[in-house]
Symmetry: C2
Subunit: 334 residues, 2 copies
């Protein structure tokens, strides 16, 4: 029996359960009664770590990121630092990717009361044994990815971004498409791909007709995909890359081989990093609102600490297509 | 009277002083006697935080980086994470740049024994009031920059890198040079610039003849410098940029304006990030040995914890010039 069960039964967050038990004066009488009733029903025993945790604020947040820190995450972390600082918080960055042995250390940091809560940019933590953290009754906010069903998150409209790319390329007259993926199982890339493929399917282009390239969001995988593109006889006329860095790697590799963008192929990225605006041609991309995402995550976090239960489980912030010179109508067939 | 005074007098590190006082069985008898004698001479009273700190290892390191996390730092942090993990350590990342109010939080984290020590990629911390950390008797290692005179550091041969760039460009026949700087006061950029200018001076080219562009290591400042370059009537034939991202911004902006590298100008960067190898042409650059730097810093850190005083105050790792297609002999004058 965990604090999550109590929270679900009482229809409040795990943070509120913790506060109701450790600092009852900070929650309303009605909330306290709901929580105590749920505690009685479930037989839940709060652990000492969770109890001691709420006594003193550290004004620090642990931000957990997946390795490696891409240019987009670098921007996002900078905005997050500012947004948290504006609310009196400082942040520490930690990672857990591919390293199960770090998880106990994260738990220790939380249990020792060195941070007031977590912002997770890595959705695999709670799924991969980080449950203990989820049960400690501290605020957790997902950013970019849903950390767990019970955890509120600030997401973007990845799927609509993929759709917008498809609509833009279809409107230019493209009919033969390529898609360069992110790492397997990545939440964002799955959504982006789904939106892209569904919009193409509506235009009569089957998913099986789309040339697939495998990437990992890293620039080198964009360059590798470009080599595959160059080696194929039947090339797509437009390629959607699931991140800007991959699109930039793709573009640079093509240019190094004497091909021109968009004359030989139209390219679209996803993220909206500044580097894309300096490319020649500037990269057409789906812009994620990094500053608004950071602000929303900081607000969510502070609201959780402050016992605000009014917000829903997830924010979905809109993305926007930014047109650069990397997309154009397909060249006439030779 | 601080632990630093004791350490200086006893000719050991502050970490050793701390260990001699809190875990005397871990240091040699001779060392312990030297420390106790120095303590007696200085009248130093170790504080409780420092004492409690050594009781239990957390196996965590706090890595303090300057904002923002550039692609080079992203690579370096990845290698550092691996190098520390190989030695049983995990790392947290924090920053203090431009934010004096974070310093007490860092001190708290250290005092609470949540980390065993610090690796500082930001040399301004200890100078800007971080002395309290320096006096807590925990291991501190500088990386890329010397954190303080008393702190061992892993540096690279920035100056020799600048010299190598000058020699390469002189050998190609260049006589009119530009230099794109990093942020004011940055240790690395000062060294790189000094090496470049001194080598040019030896070839009879005065520092006043070098066209100066101001940058901040950021890609956008490279693009801005390219605009200045384009607007000038008397252009240098070769530009040395103090970071790869600036060189890439410079190159992309020139290409967007229809100029060619190296036909219209030779470009050289500094760092050796992967993105530079994908540029068309590939960027000539000074490669910092990121993996070796990370390994050396991790080794330094573990040696300090283990009371190893044999290493000198600083490592200076060699850099190497990597030739790409972005440098060539200057075009004949029109």
């Amino acid at each position: 029996m965990t604090i999550s069960h109590v929270a679900r039964l009482a229809k409040v967050s795990t943070a509120t359960v913790s506060r109701a038990l450790t600092a009852p004066e900070t929650v309303s009488l009605a909330t306290r009664e709901r929580v105590l009733s749920a505690v009685a029903q479930t037989g839940y025993t709060p652990n000492r770590a969770a109890r001691s945790l709420r006594v003193q604020r550290t004004m620090s947040v642990l931000v957990v990121v997946p390795w490696q820190i891409t240019p987009f995450f670098s921007d996002l972390l900078l905005f997050l630092d500012r947004a948290l600082a504006a609310r009196g918080y400082s942040m520490l960055i930690g990672d857990l990717a591919d390293r199960a042995e770090q998880e106990p250390r994260l738990v220790n940091l939380v249990a020792a009361g060195q941070v007031d809560g977590l912002i997770l940019l890595n959705g695999e933590i709670l799924a991969a044994g980080g449950r203990r953290v989820d049960e400690m009754g501290i605020p957790i906010v997902g950013l970019c990815v849903p950390a767990a069903p019970s955890v509120p998150a600030v997401l973007v409209e990845d799927r609509k971004g993929g759709e917008a790319v498809a609509h833009h390329l279809l409107a230019l007259g493209h009919r033969r498409f390529g898609y360069l993926s992110g790492p397997p199982g990545n939440f964002n890339e799955i959504e982006r791909c789904a939106g892209f493929c569904e919009a193409l399917a509506e235009a009569g282009i089957a998913a099986t007709e789309i040339v697939r390239y495998r990437g990992s969001f890293h620039v080198s995988t964009g360059a590798a995909a470009a080599v595959q593109f160059l080696d194929a006889s039947d090339r797509p006329t437009a390629v959607f890359c699931a991140s800007d860095m991959m699109a930039i790697g793709f573009m640079l590799k093509l240019q190094a081989h004497g091909l021109a963008v968009p004359a030989d192929v139209s390219l679209v990225g996803f993220d909206g990093i500044e580097l894309g605006t300096f490319c020649a041609p500037a990269l057409t991309t789906v812009v994620q609102p990094a500053e608004a995402m950071a602000r929303a995550a900081a607000e969510r976090f502070v609201a959780l600490l402050g016992d605000d239960e009014t917000a829903g489980p997830c924010d979905r912030l809109p993305v926007s297509l930014r047109l650069g010179g990397s997309t154009a109508p397909p060249a006439a067939r030779h």
